[in-house]
Amino acid sequence: MADLQIDHVTKAFGDTQVLKGISLDIADGEFVSLVGPSGCGKSTLLRIIAGLEGQTSGAIRINGQDVSGIRAADRNLSMVFQSYALYPHLTVAENISVPLKMRQLSASQRLPVIGPFIPGARNRNVEIAAAVKHAAQTLEIDNLLDRKPGQLSGGQRQRVALGRALVREPAAFLLDEPLSNLDAKLRVQTRAEIAELHRRLGATFVYVTHDQVEAMTMSSRIAVMMGGEILQCDAPDEVYNNPLDIRVAEFIGSPKINILPVEASDGALTFDNVVLPTLAPKNLSGPVRIGLRPEALRLAGEDAVLAGQVVHVENLGSEIFAQISLAGHDGRVTLRAAPEQRSSLYIGANVGLAFDGSAALLFGSDGKRIFNPHTVPAQSEVA
């Protein structure tokens, strides 16, 4: 087991700067998710950690040792590729057994035809077969062991790729969107399997995903990547409740956070000439933005600070999401409401909204978080 240190890694393909100085310390046994929009460099970072791609500058350290000169095969990492990369001529069982065979059998024991007769090969092969069977059972592909990858569905292939990575016990696992092609039920199940495996092995995981739910539920920490940078790397609830950048706030959370343009002056915030219940730092003035999670908003009568008209309602049974077009604002805001409030949330209804001053997240015009006096963390530099 190992800790991973990514130290100011940059990567350029020709003129395009794909990674712009990524630094991330991953402790031994940690489960870190890399999330970010498509093309932000997640796979590239993973491949640099694996050693399949060289970084332009910076260093990767595994257990404190700089692995720059060490080839991928010797870094003892195991990886699930976004494109599965299964060997098309081998059966599922053979595919899963390749990493074990390569590492546990000697060169002569791997020879075709005579290999199995070399002393010691027999016992090893039995062990390997057992390990393969076990991995296949965990991933529910034990009935597919004799098939070739060409005869499998996308989700089944993905599980085989996962099996090939999980059958070993490497220093760390690198998983590149390993569940993206599974159906909802299997995804939840496999998610639990991976989380369980992580607990059992105590291994270090770096997990790339598009799916926030995966990131939120499985990770010890989430690293939000955008445009080749890590904007924030924190525990899931911290990333959700305390995003440090407006792009993080917008990326994490579904439905998306509501962003309102507001005017700051003298420690007060106004939206469309209405004073909001949120305080701002005294020295702040000019246009800023506040972020309000859908669950921070509530329907209100007299005490409403925002007013608008319901334009769309989504009823999920346990909760209702209503989109409300605000007066004096061209965007819409999303409100999460309890099912009991359904009667007042019909299309065309005029509603008033209120929110707790402390629930609003304040962002400067540069998109960086400004801590307002309500939520000043102890160590914050803002007076």
């Binding site: 491949r47 050693g51 399949l52 095969a73 590729f81 494109s83 990369a85 060997y87 060409g150 090939r164």
Partner: protein, 313 residues
């Protein structure tokens, strides 16, 4: 239901109409000649004669009893068995090397492909000069080693003491010279086919192999490259076999009068040409042709079987 059935019949009829020209041509220029050759192989027909006699299996009988034809089979199979593995192996090796190179690879690609594009007949004349026993470049070069340390090699020692081989005039060497030229001329073609096959190898598979611990080039070759080249290999081997069975122009260029020293390079194509065209013995020529077709057909069937069974995933 009737409408669909009707549409299906109409579609089937159209399909027949559309394939008819191709089918007609195939029958006309492929099947009919084969059938005629088959029929003629049981006769003693000569071109220009009005009649012919049925001779039964006599022509085939002769093929399998006369020593000339024994030499023909030996020469043909020696050529095929030598040239096919060597030109396939070298083609694959060259393709792998060129594929691992950058820009310079293109130069090698051109060099190795030149003999394929050149006319073998013209090349044969160049080879004839090079292999000339006294003034040829090959023996001149070998003579330069006389008196040097290289003489410890038995071949050179004997050559210096006595004389270097006559190459094209020596019955022990002639067939091997033909094989060498066949390999030299043919492997560039296989290389190009393999280069095309290599572009289809999924690059990520090499990365997967690396992560799985395949460290040596050999392991990666066995795990990724070779299986991916399976279909290409079947095709390349079949094409090489058929081309090897068809070897003719070098032999015709070197020995227009009959199959090399002591008929040691009397290959099938040359025999067909000599018997059927030069000596106007259509019957025996047809018999050899039929035999030739059977070999080629056999190879093609093996290829089809392999393609369907093993190399498709």
């Amino acid at each position: 239901m009737p409408v669909i059935a009707c549409a299906e019949t109409a579609q089937r009829r159209t399909a027949w109409w559309l394939t008819a020209p191709a089918l007609g041509l195939m029958v006309l220029i492929l099947l009919i000649p084969v059938v005629i050759a088959g029929v003629l192989s049981f006769t003693d027909y000569s071109l220009g004669n009005d009649t012919f006699n049925w001779v039964g299996a006599k022509n085939y009988d002769r093929l399998f009893s006369r020593s000339t034809y024994e030499k023909m089979f030996i020469a043909t199979f020696t050529y095929v068995v030598t040239v096919v593995p060597l030109s396939v192996g070298l083609g694959l090796g060259a393709a792998l090397l060129i594929n691992s190179m950058g820009r310079i690879g293109d130069i090698y690609k051109t060099i190795y492909f030149l003999p394929v594009m050149a006319t073998l007949l013209a090349m044969a004349i160049a080879w004839e000069f090079m292999l000339h026993p006294s003034i040829g470049m090959v023996n001149r070069t070998l003579e330069m080693s006389c008196g040097t340390i290289l003489e410890i090699i038995p071949f050179l020692k004997n050559g210096c003491a006595d004389r270097f081989p006559l190459w094209l005039g020596d019955k022990d060497y002639a067939i091997w010279v033909i094989c060498f030229i066949g390999v030299w001329q043919g492997f560039g073609f296989n290389m190009v086919l393999y280069l095309a096959g290599l572009t289809g190898v999924h690059r990520e598979l090499y990365h997967a192999a690396e992560m799985d611990g395949a460290k040596s080039g050999w392991e990666r070759f066995r795990l990724v490259t070779w299986p991916a080249l399976g279909p290409t290999t079947v095709f390349v081997v079949t094409i090489s076999c058929i081309r090897a069975f068809q070897v003719f122009d070098t032999i015709e260029a070197f020995w227009p009068q009959g199959g090399g020293p002591n008929k040691s390079t009397y290959v099938m194509m040359f025999a067909i040409f000599e018997k059927g065209i030069q000596q106007n013995l259509i019957g025996i020529g047809s018999a050899i042709t039929v035999l030739f077709l059977i070999f080629v057909m056999f190879l093609t069937l093996i290829q089809r079987w392999l393609v369907e069974r093993k190399v498709h995933y």
